[in-house]
Symmetry: C2
Subunit: 367 residues, 2 copies
Amino acid sequence: MVVTLRDVARAAGVSPATASRALSAPDLVAPARREHVQQVARELGYRPNRAARELITGRTGNLCLVVPDLENPFFAAVAKGVQARARALGFALLVADAEEDPRLESELVGHLGAQVDGVILCSPRMTDVELDRLGRDVLDDDVPLLLVNRLHAGLPSVVIDNADGIRQAVTHLYALGHRRIGYAGGPVGSWSDAQRRRGLEHASHGLRSIDVVDLGHFPPLFGGGVAAGDLVAASGVTAVLAHNDLLALGILSRLRARGVRVPEDVSVVGYDDIPAATLVSPTLTTVTVPLARLGRAAVDLLIEAGSVPTATESALTSAERARHTAPATALGSDRENAGPPSVLIGVELVVRASTGVASAQSSAAGG
Amino acid sequence: MVVTLRDVARAAGVSPATASRALSAPDLVAPARREHVQQVARELGYRPNRAARELITGRTGNLCLVVPDLENPFFAAVAKGVQARARALGFALLVADAEEDPRLESELVGHLGAQVDGVILCSPRMTDVELDRLGRDVLDDDVPLLLVNRLHAGLPSVVIDNADGIRQAVTHLYALGHRRIGYAGGPVGSWSDAQRRRGLEHASHGLRSIDVVDLGHFPPLFGGGVAAGDLVAASGVTAVLAHNDLLALGILSRLRARGVRVPEDVSVVGYDDIPAATLVSPTLTTVTVPLARLGRAAVDLLIEAGSVPTATESALTSAERARHTAPATALGSDRENAGPPSVLIGVELVVRASTGVASAQSSAAGG
DNA sequence: TTGTATGCGTTATCAC
DNA sequence: GTGATAACGCATACAA
């Protein structure tokens, strides 16, 4: 049978109120009684009923993560970090896969938002208008919403340092002698792609006689890279920067199929450093994004910015929290800024085998 | 402010009981009133409070999935299928990553099992004893537990047809002229690895002058394959069967690094057909496992076997369910068998570029 | 068919 | 510091 708090109270010879306090507000009860009640609860195998607690406190002990695609290694890594951090703080995690459909994303946030203490949303392509609506109408006021890799007025977020990653990549290619560099972008409407394009423009401004070729927008997947590969070959660039690793891997594959050698003829740089980047040959030079840390930072910020009380059960020590949170940089934390805080996640170029010195001939333009 | 059922009742001019019935047991209320109440509820933006409902019905509307590693593409694919199916049936999904730690798996099942209507567990390496304990002591009697890719007395499960996949692979290699075939196994204690070894033995019994070389047990990851690759080269086999794709990819990588050509010198076959199998060069011949379907079947079986009532909100039509469930084969469904049902997921060898005709010389034994 | 009344298990509000 | 008691929002037994 199921053991209720009343059972514990009766067995311990105290009132239900005291039993409740002994377990969830220990400071309020005399040490002797407290220990006794806890002991009895343990012996009886008491497990608090979450529904009853939620009904009165309004808190669920659950967080929610919405991603476009769980099978995409980028989001899988984020999910892993979010899940780990949520659990460490005593939260369970509801995960929803939006199947790359922004409309479904909104719906999921609406449905799941009603039964959690906070929502983390990875939605690269949702419109700003829709995002506004989400924050305003869809969610209860006390359910904070946090964005991953996207800034939006009024919402806290955790973002990758897109511009700096691009800068590092461009600098690397320039140092190798590349002067004509292609950029294979992500989807139209992708916030991070816009950031990266801006970073690219900015970085190239500082370099002499560099020529940046915009190859267009592609689905940020392997298949998109296959299409992009042909444009790379046709464009006469000696190096290409891809919006992300999956795209870069597609480019790699297509170039190989066409007999274009990497890195001898063309150098390729990715972004994200997903596990597959080291599985291929040549291994992929890319920008490492600490995705697990990003996930952890997202949970931490959601808790703080939304002033979500941590589930008491297994909260970390403050030292542990500090250790995790330290590496990230707070944005807009100056006191003038009244908006919600954002955290910037630093990135680092990792040079592997897909980049090399620029070839003398004008790359693989012809057939 | 939050709209409660009483508000709806008042606005509709009916009692709370009628309002409740109009929304969650429509048949019990007169058509006219029913429509009216539903209309009013819609206008007021009424959202039932899940905690209150759970407190009285005992059902949460949540399912739970525990996997060893969310970043592993195998489990990511399963998670995606499970999530999609759960949502279609009106359930939300709690996802937990056990970090490859069987002890943590138990703990998670215990913690999360208390707040869900059913648990799906992917636990290749948990001991049978621990599994018994889970089913007996840890979970409430009315919270069904389902196993993925593992059979266990007393528990329903969804399993891959391991033996048949191996049989198809061996047959393929034999037809290509391979007579000395290595097997790079998964971890000791892995249920599916035991199955595959058994299947291997059985399949090879039927073939003349075939020689199966057991290369040992490896972590079912890329790194494990790197180690296995050296044994492949040293063993004098002309083909190797890997426990799974990640292992196979590691072998591929190591062989390439050592100058052993695939498939000219050695053929390699994987298992699972994860996305990366087509990203590498040569592309990997492997056994396709319909992981998304597996995930869906897991949810369906959990609901049926555990007699979990589907969340009413967005249940599929029976036609839709049949369409999904049909391809899987029911095991032990004969009426003699009193145990919980299991579903067998069929698999299919997909031949790609990593397998070819056996080389004349005794493979790449030397340096 | 509908309304009234009760209780699910817990925490919060008071008195004491 | 402790105990009685009232909610929380809903579903349901029972009465009408």
